[in-house]
Symmetry: C2
């Protein structure tokens, strides 16, 4: 646990089959005007919308709507959301959906009282929020991003071909989140599997950093083993409650700041995946999966000890009689084989990327410096080439 750090995560979580009842405890804490934010309308088909609105009405709230939040929320949509929140005089923004909806709700919440161009201020200049924030609550219907218990928000600007994530401070974290694993049952398998890999990638981005051997690494090994175990059950039986509930819980703890403590953290896989996403609009988790194996095989020599430990402690590789490199390679092979077995997309071609797009994708890829190897643009392009 080297270094100085602070930890504070005030988000209240309501978890389980009756989690939505938590709304009745939370709503009285806020004013009358609630901006209900959601996506393409799947919550109207599966009945969650009706349940939420009934609870809002029973708590005597004025319900304003901001629908149509897309999987990769755009800066244009953000502008629309700001106007809606302003005209509703929203006292609470209630996001009902997955990570994109929750990310978007946070972006709106910090922008309403910000007199500058919020995209420019928060997502380009990465400034801290100093203006008043509208509190956000989440009803989660899709897992993966951890957005329900952190300050993360990813917004895409199509004109600039940029998909940028900003991590806001604890004042922007959702005040509460409702986590009912059953709400995730109706999600198509492609989205479920994509979310599972998003979770795994969040853990690996933090795990593969630093030479130290701290408690965060041990916690992450536990989370990874639990995730692999439950993912194997969920892909066979998507309505296995225990498996889906574990996956939901792991997603939250993979990215609520805890396991980053004492770690430098990498996030280059996310930069690679997000650049692919900005050019193809492909599903986030799948973009991460499609670039991961070429990336990890490339950086493995620079963090060989950790990759060998990963092989043994997460994938059960027996290191007896093997070199560190052989152990590490066997771990990555086990990971690749598992990724294929659960149905992840293993190349960016399948996501719509073509060779002639690589220069542009490379150009818009941010370079991170917390992992085992700081890449240059030619290395990034080579990784994309191998990902085709």
């Amino acid at each position: 646990m080297l270094g100085n750090f602070t930890y504070c995560n005030p988000t209240k979580l309501y978890f389980g089959k009756d989690a939505l009842d938590g709304l009745n405890e939370e709503l009285p804490k806020y004013g009358k005007n609630v901006l209900l934010v959601y996506g393409g309308g799947s919550i109207k088909k599966n009945g969650i919308y009706d349940k939420v609105v009934a609870i809002l009405k029973a708590n005597d709230k004025n319900v304003y709507e901001d629908a149509g939040v897309m999987p990769n929320p755009t800066s244009d949509k953000l502008k629309e959301g700001i106007e809606r929140a302003k005209s509703a005089k929203a006292d609470l923004i209630l996001a009902v959906g997955g990570g994109s909806v929750c990310d978007y709700a946070k972006a709106v919440s910090v922008s309403v009282n910000c007199n500058d161009d919020a995209w420019d201020k928060y997502f380009i200049r990465f400034e801290d929020v100093t203006c008043d924030i509208i509190p956000v609550g989440c009803v989660l219907t899709m897992v993966g991003t951890g957005s329900e218990m952190n300050g993360g928000s990813v917004i895409t600007n199509h004109a600039q071909k940029l998909k940028i994530g900003h991590v806001f401070g604890e004042n922007v974290f959702p005040k509460f989140s409702i986590l009912n694993p059953e709400f995730t049952y109706t999600l198509p398998k492609y989205q479920m599997v994509s979310g599972i890999y998003d979770i795994m990638s969040h853990i690996l981005e933090q795990y593969f950093s630093g030479e130290d051997d701290n408690t965060s690494d041990y916690i992450m090994e536990g989370l990874l083993r639990s995730l692999i175990h439950s993912a194997n059950i969920a892909v066979k039986n998507p309505t296995d409650y225990e498996a889906r509930s574990n996956i939901m819980w792991i997603a939250t703890w993979a990215l609520n700041t805890l396991v980053a403590k004492g770690k430098t953290t990498d996030w280059e896989v996310h930069m690679l995946g997000q650049a692919v996403g900005a050019h193809t609009d492909a599903t986030h988790g799948m973009t991460l999966a499609a670039v991961s194996m070429p990336y990890y095989r490339y950086i493995m020599p620079y963090g060989i000890k950790k990759f060998a430990r990963y092989a043994v402690n997460v994938w059960g590789v027996n290191p007896d009689g093997k070199t560190e490199q052989q152990t590490a390679e066997q771990g990555l092979a086990a990971m690749e084989s598992w990724m294929k077995s659960i149905g992840l997309v293993m190349n960016i071609t399948e996501l719509g990327a073509t060779e002639d797009m690589l220069d542009g994708i490379t150009e818009s890829t941010l370079i991170m410096d917390g992992g085992y190897k700081v890449l240059d643009k030619s290395e990034i392009r080579a990784i994309y080439k191998k990902s085709l």
Copy 2:
């Protein structure tokens, strides 16, 4: 993650060598009157007292003192603390010490505005707190109890021969805690080792419960492996910063409600140990160590699958060619051998208990029902007999 639950832990942690600087961020949030609570005066010898008082003065606080909190704080001392907090008109109670001091500060904080006998109301009748609470902050100098980030408070009533823990809600959690691993360096080795086993016991009390296979179990296996790893380093070199910082961090996460999610949790070892403590005033962690092996060997058949998993995932026992029972027994043997190697007290005789005290100790032992076997009083007495 079976069942419905809520999770909320608002305590802000300042961690690391500069953690005390966090006081300057926290103190302005509270009124002028600070009740400084501490123990036997070791903080005056090691300089922590002077540092804390200097920061309080620099923040223009009126400092009132309540010293002499004993290792097992008593209901008599609690009455004294209530009077001191009242006469100081305390706006903040700042606990500087280990778990006992922090536990005591919480007991005072909930009792000052409680017009009943607080011992009777909270520690006998286990009522929720409805009166105004004085906020508590902690500067931790000894690790083990997790009191710095939870609502736990253990108070001993000598007249009634009762040592009782109450777990208060999140409103009673410390508002902030200062965790500087270097502050734990001057602790005698006996206390350090006792704290390490207290941490381990907290994890095991939660791990050895339920037939389910949830994420909490995986996180706990990670915490246990990290604890064993760092304890082995710390007993050889008590000023190894990385080891001591990991132990401090694990202690916090072992008992801040996270790993209990989805578990029934046992706590019978704590009931056994606390009864020994109430009759001998022995160090808490040592009382737990002294009764653990007879307890776990007795309940092992009732949770055999989990004990076998524990052997493999925590102690690295190779299960090939062994029955579940053989694997489980080998795990407990590895645990026992490790406990001896770090210097834990392995019997209650060494702690001052004698055979003629066993009836009384048995009498005051509470029976819990969340573990693999609900004990009756004759079973409890038999476990104490084996612990002599």
